[in-house]
Structure formats: structure tokens, C-alpha cells
């Protein structure tokens, strides 16, 4: 009898303990993080962002279930520096990944990369026991020492730079991309540090990246995990799988974006299938504005002015959605945010600590995401190379430079007379109001001066060649 009673009591305590432990684990479990990053997708290229002939029902639903930010910026208007900033939470100038001299992105003959001493989101999460995967475009150095597996990722599957590189054709870039063929672009597909396919069969690349992400989710459903899913699309050359080719009213560009939309739907479906949605934050955003000089093969900035390779709004403001059911309430946020903020935000919500030996340029946005508070970011510096093209404080954006609004050919020039815009009242940047707000001009100039005191250029990685 006594033993029996005791064992019942033990069972009871085990049951109670399990209950509490489980409640505790539900509450405190470090969340999974998935960043879905598209390439050259414009501010206006989604249904939810107002595109009239591209259908993106899955991303639209993600936006309705999550928080959509309408004033969200990348830290650079082209690929390489934008990615460096997202992964490190630091301005590209600090890591030497943007330049005023020549090409601003890595090419197959580049010898540089994101310096290994930079600390990526993957590296801070590794310390917290996360499993980490980089899937897709890297573009932060393709020599072994710069690859994702040397920057905190357990695995890598993808094309290490832009999908239009290593051309094998004598056609011009515009011609080759107007009617693209796989064999025109001899880009490698890598698994970790090995090339496994060349040229990458780009027509199935979105599909394969998606499957890779789904597989990783399933394999790591018991761990906290981090997936950096950086699609090569819709950067030219545009390739869609047979399921999507010729199906969009927007033409090939629309086919490609609609396949990306499908991909987002698949990833979220897998997260839900394994009951991970309450414990997984998914972020969707893009690396810079649309490459509008590519005719109908480039995207749309929507109502914004400018394009990829410019620091006008259309070049640096991107779609941004944060999804985490039960944790992030559905909302539309018109405060300022940036990909620079992802590292500090993820650090906060995962409990990972930041290294104290360096300056960060990001803000922790978790109070806005989770507690409905004002964004902690109130300013933005629009770098172009190592120059600050413009600076924003609150609703006001002050321009120090001008450029070709289509980005290419670049016509960067210092303005003799600065220009000021209220980009909430005038999001298309049509009305220069510098005469009306001398105080604002003074304030932004001061802000910039303060900012620049703490910014020291890192060793230029972009000019190093093999």
C-alpha cells in the first residue's frame, strides 16, 4: 500500500512537473528564424503592395497575418553591400563591402568577401545552439574563406553570386536577358564548399531552394533553427519552372514573382504542418529596388521614385513583412525600419548576446513587433559607396547627392543646392520643400555629422581581384 501510494505520488509530481516544464518550454523556447530575401524585387511588385497584374496570394496572406512595414529600408541600393548589412547589422562601409571605385558587387574575379571577423546573424545564433542554413544567393565572396560555411552557417546550397554572371555568350547583357537561356550564364550551384552543377539549371532554382528550406525545417523541427533563404530571383536572367512559365499576366517577370509567392506559401505551410508557427518568426524582404533599365524584365518601385542603384526611395525602400502567429499581431507599420535592424532584433528575441567589441548600426525592433510600441529607429542614412547620398529623420529626407533615377548609367553628383522632401506626405518625392524648413535641414546635417564621427571605413574588399 505504502509503495503504491508513493508511486502514485511520484507519478503525480512527474505529471505536474511535465505540465509546468512543457508550459515553460512553450513560453521560453528560443524561436526559429527564417529570413526570405528576394533579389531586385521592387517595392511595388506584390499584390499587397498594389501591383495590378502580379498575383501574390501567399505573400498577401502572410502580410495580413503579420506585420507589414511600409517604410523599411535596406542599407545599400545594390546586392553585395545590402547583404553584408543584413547579416552583420552594420553599415557596409564598416566591413569594406561598398566602394566608390568601380564595381560595387562581387564578380567571379573578385578576391574579397565579407571579412571573416564580421559576426553574422548565423554566428550569434550558433552560440545559442541554433542549426543554421544558408540557401540561395550569397554574394559576399565566393572564395572558400568567405563562403557561408565560414560565416556561421552549418550548410550552404546555392549560387554564390548573381545569376547573370560568367556569361558564355557574345550577346549584350540586355540581349542575353531579354530571351535568356540557361547555358548563357555559366554560374555554379554549390553544396557547402563544392560546385555540384554548372551551369546551374536556373529554371528549377526557386523550386529547389524551396525544397531545401522545407527539408531543413523538417530535419530540425526539434532544434531552434535559422534559415537564410536568399532567392536568386527575380534578378535577371529570369527563369521560372514549367508550372509557372507563361502563367502570369505580367509576363516572365510575373511568372517568376508568382513562383516566389508559391515558395513563400510552401515554406509557411511546412512551418504550420509541424506546428512550429507559434515558435517561428518569418521575415520577408528584398535586397534593393527594381532593376528598371531592364525594360519589362525589371520590376516596379510602385509609387516610389528611383530604382536599384539609386538612393531615392525606390532604390532602398523594400517590401517587409514579419510573421509570427500569436506573437506578432497583424498590423501595418509606417515607422522606419531597416534590414540593419534584423540582427539586433533577432539577438533580442533569441536571447543571443551581441559582441561588445564593435559598433552596430541596427536597432532592436522587437518592441514594435511584439508590444506594439513606436519603432526605435527614427533615422536612416542612405549610403552609396562610402558617401551619404541622403539622410532621413522622421518624415524628412535631405539629399546631398543626385543620380540618374534609373540607376544606370550612374550619374552621381554632389548637389550644389540640397533638397528636402517630406516622404510621408510626398512619398513619390515630387516636391522639394527645402526653403520652408531650414530648421529641419540644420537638424539633419547635425545628425549626419554626429553619425559620421563613429563610422570608420573598413578595408575595401571590392577592389581586390584574383
Amino acid at each position: 500500500m505504502k509503495i503504491h501510494f508513493k508511486s502514485s505520488l511520484i507519478s503525480f509530481f512527474i505529471a505536474v512537473y511535465s505540465l509546468f516544464e512543457c508550459l515553460y518550454c512553450q513560453q521560453e523556447k528560443t524561436p526559429n528564424i527564417i529570413i526570405i530575401f528576394t533579389d531586385d524585387l521592387g517595392y511595388g511588385d506584390l499584390g499587397i503592395q498594389g501591383h495590378p497584374s502580379i498575383q501574390t496570394p501567399y505573400i498577401d496572406q502572410m502580410a495580413r497575418e503579420g506585420q507589414r512595414w511600409t517604410n523599411f529600408y535596406v542599407a545599400a541600393n545594390v546586392c553585395t553591400p545590402s547583404r553584408a548589412a543584413l547579416l552583420t547589422g552594420r553599415l557596409p562601409i564598416r566591413s569594406g563591402t561598398d566602394t566608390n571605385e568601380g564595381a560595387r558587387v562581387f564578380f567571379p574575379n573578385s578576391a574579397g568577401g565579407l571579412p571573416p571577423e564580421e559576426i553574422t546573424i548565423a554566428e550569434i545564433l550558433k552560440k545559442k545552439g541554433y542549426k543554421t542554413a544558408a540557401i540561395g544567393k550569397w554574394h559576399l565572396g565566393h572564395l572558400p574563406e568567405f563562403l557561408p560555411t565560414n560565416q556561421g552557417f552549418d550548410s550552404y546550397f546555392g549560387i554564390p553570386y548573381s545569376n547573370d554572371m560568367n556569361p558564355t555568350t557574345n550577346l549584350t547583357h540586355a540581349e542575353a536577358n531579354a530571351d535568356p537561356k540557361i547555358e548563357y550564364f555559366n554560374v555554379p550551384l554549390m553544396r557547402n564548399e563544392e560546385i555540384i552543377e554548372r551551369p546551374a539549371q536556373q529554371n528549377t532554382i526557386t523550386k529547389r531552394y524551396t525544397e531545401e528550406a522545407q527539408k531543413f525545417i523538417v530535419e530540425n523541427k526539434e532544434n531552434p533553427f535559422f534559415i537564410y533563404l536568399a532567392h536568386n530571383m527575380p534578378h535577371v536572367p529570369l527563369f521560372a519552372s514549367d508550372d509557372f512559365l507563361g502563367t502570369s499576366k505580367r509576363g516572365l517577370y510575373g511568372d517568376v514573382v508568382e513562383e516566389l509567392d508559391w515558395s513563400v506559401g510552401e515554406v509557411l505551410k511546412t512551418v504550420k504542418e509541424y506546428d512550429l508557427e507559434k515558435n517561428t518568426m518569418v521575415v520577408f524582404t528584398s535586397d534593393n529596388g527594381p532593376w528598371t533599365v531592364l525594360n519589362v524584365n525589371g520590376g516596379s518601385p510602385g509609387p516610389l521614385y528611383g530604382a536599384k542603384a539609386t538612393s531615392y526611395e525606390g532604390g532602398m525602400r523594400v517590401p517587409a513583412i514579419f510573421w509570427w502567429p500569436g506573437k506578432i499581431e497583424p498590423d501595418v507599420i509606417m515607422d522606419i525600419g531597416s534590414t540593419l535592424d534584423l540582427l539586433p532584433t533577432i539577438s533580442k528575441i533569441s536571447g543571443a548576446s551581441l559582441s561588445q567589441d564593435r559598433n552596430y548600426d541596427g536597432y532592436d525592433l522587437s518592441a514594435t513587433l511584439i508590444e506594439n510600441k513606436k519603432s526605435s529607429r527614427e533615422e536612416m542614412f542612405y549610403y552609396h559607396g562610402t558617401n551619404v547620398f541622403a539622410a532621413r529623420k522622421g518624415d524628412y529626407k535631405l539629399y546631398f547627392y543626385e543620380n540618374n533615377p534609373n540607376g544606370y548609367p550612374e550619374k552621381l553628383g554632389k548637389l550644389d543646392e540640397l533638397k528636402l522632401f517630406n516622404i510621408q506626405k510626398d512619398p513619390s518625392e515630387r516636391f522639394n520643400i527645402i526653403e520652408e524648413f531650414p530648421e529641419v535641414v540644420k537638424e539633419i546635417k547635425k545628425l549626419l555629422k554626429e553619425h559620421q564621427k563613429n563610422v570608420h571605413p573598413g578595408e575595401n574588399q571590392m577592389i581586390k581581384k584574383i
Copy 2:
């Protein structure tokens, strides 16, 4: 006993009859119709259409619950002819409500109006026993014979023309509208055929139109009813009530649009409160593109090219939402539709018959709305005055004229070399592809020729002055 049994039997049959009658009435009851029509709201001015700093949660929700059309057109790029077309299902040229000579909208010194022999939606619904109300801007003639009460409406409450007319100030139009005051615009507010307030207290006009609509819904909840709720806003001068003034990040224009959004929410709330939503179709759209020359006091065409008073897409493509829970499934439609189609569509769903003595230019869209079929409209003629500025067939739009893309000052000129655009692939109309598609050009020219055979200009109403 016998009598008792008989009376029980009668009660039983009455009960059964009532049950069936009620089921029948539920199924076959003619639906209520509410058309919410805004003034100068641009394609890009709603959250759901991609605006980054205007919040429209109620309209966005209406769109998510209903069918949103992304290729929906008005029949004219300015106010008066656009309204004539919506209410009659006929091109303005037929009713003499657009012109190539002078002002294209009615002014306080106009002696013309929509001819009484034109048959409006209200008139066809009156014959089916509907109670009908016009609330808001009329702009189809302000002399007694042209007022809503002589065009099929049981009642009228509103400002009979644009809210910027009858200026009392020596300021320029731009100056008066940059910092508007109620007393600058001596416009009348009418109840039926009487002026009840002058100048109309425009700061509460959106609120009062809304309340009037809600009151009419409640009073007519047992009848089929038709409400034509044509807001004066966001046409300049911009006025918002104290509840909205200074609340939007987009400034005064945003305050005004956000109050319109509130208004839509209120109307739908009342429809739901009285359990009418399964039997009420609500349409939301706008009369023409945004008045962009008004600086930040004009709206945004989003990604589209052009503005009010142009026949570019930004001038004539408008937001359009059809809402009828349980009948119209949530969807985004990229086929072509037009305000011209509202009369035939409403005629179909209400069972009202069309007069056989005249040509209509609209298509019945009910099969798309209710049965998920392809739109019956496959073309659009972009009239400007009595000229056809451009014509669309399928995805292609052929231009015969050009204009100042901002609308004002008008610079209408016949093109020496026509231009062709694929406006699904290229919604911003950036790439003229006329050289590539000679067959399409031929086909559209033929279509236009056929169309014009059956179009005969009505007596010009616009040139008649008091």
C-alpha cells in the same frame, strides 16, 4: 372539435407557407445596392492599393472580403462625364456630357445637365420597387429639372457640383486650396431641391453624408434600396472633421482619405447590424484619377502613368471593390471592367429590365462577380471629350492622342505616330511596342471603327450657359 381541427390545420398551412415564403424571399429578394463613389481618389491612394502612408483598414477589409478589380475604368477622366456614364451605362458622348469646347464639367453658370430622357440606375430600380437615395456630389446639372429627384432618386442630400466652385476669395485656385477655409467656397448644400446651407460646412460633410446613408439604410431595411453615395472628398478643398484632422502621416489629404475609409466602415457596419449583408451589394470606386498638379493636396496614381484629365492609365483606372458576402467570393480580378458596366450588372442582379430604345456601352459583369467567369468586357475606349484618345483590347492599348501627363494645362494633340503598350506586362506604360505588333494595331483600329459606327453624339450639354 371540427372547427378546432380546421383552425389548427389552417395555422399549420400558414406556418408552412410562411416558412416557404420566407425561404423563397431570402433566395429571391432583390438585393440592395450601395455605390460608394469618391472624387479624385487615385489608383494608389488606399492601403490595399499600396499607399505607404495612408491607412485604410476598413476599405482594405472590404477588399479582402470582396472582389477587387485591378483593371477597372471610368468612362471619362473628369467628373461630370464620368458620373453620367456610371449612372446611365452609356458613354458621355451619347448624352452630350463631354465636350471638346471649353469646360468639361458643369459650373454654377451652366444651364445644361444630364438630359432627363437618359435613364439612370435609380430609374430602372424604381420600376422594381426600390427606394432610392442620392447622397453627395451630383455634378450632372444643378437646375431643378436636372437634379437627382428628377432622375429617379426619391431624395437628394448633397452639394450639386464640385466643392471648389463659387469662390469668394481673390486667392488663386492653388492658393485657396493650399490652406482652405470653408468661407472661400460658397457652395450650396441641398436637401432635395432646396438649398439648406451655404456655404456648405465642408469640414463635417463626409460625416454627414455617412450618417445620411446609415439613416436611409435603417429606414429602408425592409425594402430593396439603392444608395448612390458620391462623396465630395478627396477633391479639393480638402476638409476633414476634427476626429481626423492632423491624424494621418500623409497630411491633410491622408486625413481626408482616412475619414472616407471610416465612412466605408460605418456604412458596412450598419448593413451588417441589420443583417442585410447577404442581400446587399456594395461597390466602392472613384470618378477619375488624382489631381496631381495640386501638389501634396492631390492624390497618387500608384504605379500608373498620368493623372486626372488624362486618358493615360492613371487618369482612368480606379480602385474598384465589389462586396456582397456569401454571393461574391473574395478574389482579385485582373480582367477589364468599367463603371459603364454597373447599370447592366445591377439590372441583371435586380431583375430590372433595360430599355430597348437606346445603345448601352456597358457589359453585365455578374457572371464574373458571382460565378467566377471571365469578364465579358474585353475592350475599353478612352474618350476625351468626343475624341477617342486611346483604345484597349485585351492587354494592348493603342494611343491616337497625347497629352500633358499631369492633365493641366491640357496639351491634347493627335499623334503622328501611334503608340502601343502592353499594359498588363507594362502597367506604367513605359515601353512603346508598336513596331513589334502590327497585327494588334490593325485589330484595334478595326475595333474602333466598328465601335464608332454606333456612336452618335448627343446634344452638347456642356456649352449651355445661364
